[in-house]
Symmetry: C2
Subunit: 468 residues, 2 copies
């Protein structure tokens, strides 16, 4: 058999010829249509036979003794890396489930597409079940069998509506039993949980549960969140962050150009992303690096102000006082903006499209090799896609414990903006200049073709040491 | 001399080699940079010698007798059309002023670029003055001499910050005298007013004033407003409408996909564009045609609801009542969105870029031929740019009168959404289907290259009879 093409677009399935019929809407915009057949490159390790190689054994992000007690079957297991090999696993047919968990992030559909194509390519005869409406779909046994026709309309498309998402958790003993029953009923070899920190913690608990009961169902996580706070050395970014930041930055850039075009309005350029009620300010920092506002408040540095409206009020009060003592004579009109939901479901950028596809493809490889309790990990992301690395990181290695109601609960430690990290240091070195001189940048709308289409984001490139 | 290239990019000036130094920010995003040298096609009439031919004499949109009294020098003058000719006007050097008036709209910089390039190409030795901060710049004599270096960084860029805009009007006899003084001081052959209906009314009053005093300064208007309510048969659309609608529709599309991905939120998809306090609903209608929401309220058909939050409250009240009688058991959470300022200063779409460039080029030709009191009119917009027609429409022909404080005031009649027009009829024929079945379309971000980059908008194509 010839090695599969590096440009995968549904493996050997003629997806390009499938009609867009199964999505709720049968009508697509020109841009949506143009994305359907966007070719997705794959890391070159998938072009040849490969094996999954174990790395050194792992510990935990904090309190390893407690994590070891909470995950007796999984704690300490090694990470995994895909490496070129003489021969490949023959790849028997697998039964795999996939679930979208929590808030939407651009690219989720491509994780599923990547898994599907991997199974079609490498484990012929496999079945992929999509659990509907998040983890509740696992507990209730609500699923759809994914087919090429079903998946095709969602390739490179935003949203989570292929199988929908939900915020339920598998927590109680009864709920774990329900998940076990579903896994048994469908004879699942594996389950992929696409979610944020909480969902991946849940995935790890489920992996531990299945392993402790000697059940064959393996569980693999995938790093999803536009907030960018689920990351570590092996998982350089969570998917969706790139696209969402670009969407917000486009709007911020437009509003800044608007403000510069007239002396009448002073737009409040405080970027407040309260979408998920999250604490980390990666989106704010990335948008600042993309657009250079005069003032940016990073929650990790200063207690973040509650609302943009409050900031405007404070400025109004200050200017009113100056007016009364004759230090200010102009009119001030604040204009607040909140950018939130618009960024969660945008068409994924080329970076998120490729990254998600590789995450899904990698998740398939990890399951095929019998791995469980790992999070799909694609690295070397500043290089061309062909040079990306693929593997898995033990979910337990990302964990710490929190004391809740007198009990230790495992949690994946949120990655906050590091004040001594490269992105914040870049920002800090520039902010005085940006404050005093208008250095506004307008990133413009996400482009899918042309020379600018494949650039990722400052946060990632600075953290990887590629951008200075 | 060889005919000028059809792809104009600064005429014979090597603009591509100029550094971006004069804009306040010297740093551009990749997309902004990529737009600087975007080649702009021109209507083919500019490729050869041409002459300006008069059409039939004109009347007014309403109350022609009153308009004739208000504009004794200009009323009834013919429209003008550029036609191929054996020889061209030799093109002596001109002194021209340009002003941006009112709210920003994507493409304003390209109108100025088009005027500048026309003068460089056809009237060598000309000077173009940019009045700063809107009409106040004319009255106060605040201007900048526009040079290739000054203009280059603004080519195909959003915003009005090249010379900034303002909302002052030239109204009182003293103000008209100030404008006259500035025109005399700069020895102006012409003035181009880039603005909406009020600004073009003002331009016409100024043209009448100059003409009635036998001053040489001619005044030409250009149709600017994202609201799309400044249009007529000869002026098929105002610039900025195409880009702004695309920016709003992208966001609306994203929010609709978001809503479809989870059962938790029911996003309020009422599109409310209160930006300019305008009455016409062209933006709402165009966005509906682009995205297919379940419910769209068109102000020309139903008294438009005041805020999106009020609609959510009404739905909440209704569902609460249903809950109490056992007809509804789910949770409802409305989510309101307001899209406004983000659309005014976006990078102009390819359509708006080319349209504005042609409007500016045409304004230059009208001034050169001695015309005054016309609005630059570029037609046949559904065809490739080469086939666009170029000319001018008498501003008096767009006018009606309003009685204010016992006096007749001339006003350009706002073009409202026509309930028997093709765009509304298309919407009306589809809305039942869209209401009951989710036919959401996500237009995605504006693309500047590739097969979808040059598509304009439904409203324009439906009104031109090109789209069914």
């Amino acid at each position: 058999m010839a090695p599969p093409s590096l440009v995968a677009n549904g493996g050997d399935i003629a997806v390009g010829k499938l009609p867009v019929t199964s999505r709720v809407s049968s009508v697509y915009s020109e841009v949506q249509n143009s994305r359907l057949d966007h070719p997705l490159a794959l890391p070159s390790v998938f072009a040849k036979p490969f094996k999954v190689v174990d790395g050194p054994s792992s510990s935990a992000a904090g309190n390893p003794d407690e994590i070891a007690k909470l995950f007796p079957s999984l704690f300490g297991q090694p990470s995994a890396v895909l490496e070129a090999s003489e021969t490949s696993d023959p790849g028997s047919a697998l039964k795999i489930g996939v679930v979208l968990s929590g808030g939407q992030a651009p690219g989720g559909h491509n994780v599923i597409s990547g898994m599907f194509d991997y199974l079609q390519e490498r484990c012929k005869g496999s079945t992929l079940y999509g659990f509907k409406g998040g983890p509740a779909g696992i507990m209730k046994g609500k699923y759809v069998v994914l087919t090429p026709e079903f998946i095709y309309p969602y390739r490179n498309q935003g949203g989570f509506d292929m199988i929908c998402s939900g915020r339920d958790k598998i927590e109680t003993p009864e709920q774990f039993k329900q998940a076990e029953d579903t896994a048994a009923k469908l004879d699942l070899d594996g389950l992929v949980v696409i979610g944020g920190d909480d969902s991946n913690t849940n995935a790890c608990l489920l992996a531990e549960y299945f392993r402790s009961k000697n059940l064959k169902t393996r569980v693999i996580g995938c790093p999803k969140t536009i907030d960018g706070d689920l990351k570590c050395k092996e998982v350089p970014t969570s998917f969706g962050f790139d696209t969402a930041c670009k969407i917000y930055a486009e709007q911020i850039g437009n509003v800044m150009i608007d403000a510069r075009s007239t002396g009448k309005y002073y737009h409040c350029k405080l970027i407040v992303v309260r979408l998920m009620g999250r604490a980390a300010s990666h989106i704010t920092l990335e948008c600042a690096l993309q657009t250079h506002p005069n003032i940016t408040l990073i929650g990790e540095e200063v207690a973040k102000i509650e609302t943009e409206k409050m900031l405007i009020q404070m400025v109004e009060t200050e200017l009113e006082q100056r007016k009364q003592v004759g230090q200010y004579s102009r009119q001030f009109k604040g204009q607040s903006h909140f950018f939130g939901y618009e960024g969660r479901c945008g068409l994924p950028s080329n970076f998120d499209s490729s990254y998600c596809y590789a995450l899904g493809y990698g998740a398939g490889a990890l399951l095929q090799s019998g791995k469980t309790g790992l999070i799909s990990s694609v690295g070397n992301l500043a290089a061309p896609v062909a040079e990306w690395t693929v593997g898995g990181t033990p979910l337990t290695s990302l964990m710490d414990v929190e004391r809740r109601h007198g009990k230790f609960k495992p949690v994946i430690k949120k990655a906050m903006v590091e004040l001594d990290g490269a992105p914040f240091k870049k920002f800090a070195s520039k902010r005085e200049e940006w404050a005093l001189q208008n250095r506004y940048i307008s990133p413009g709308p996400i482009q899918f073709t042309g020379p600018v289409a494949d650039i990722s984001n400052h946060t990632l490139l600075l953290e990887l040491g590629v951008e200075a």
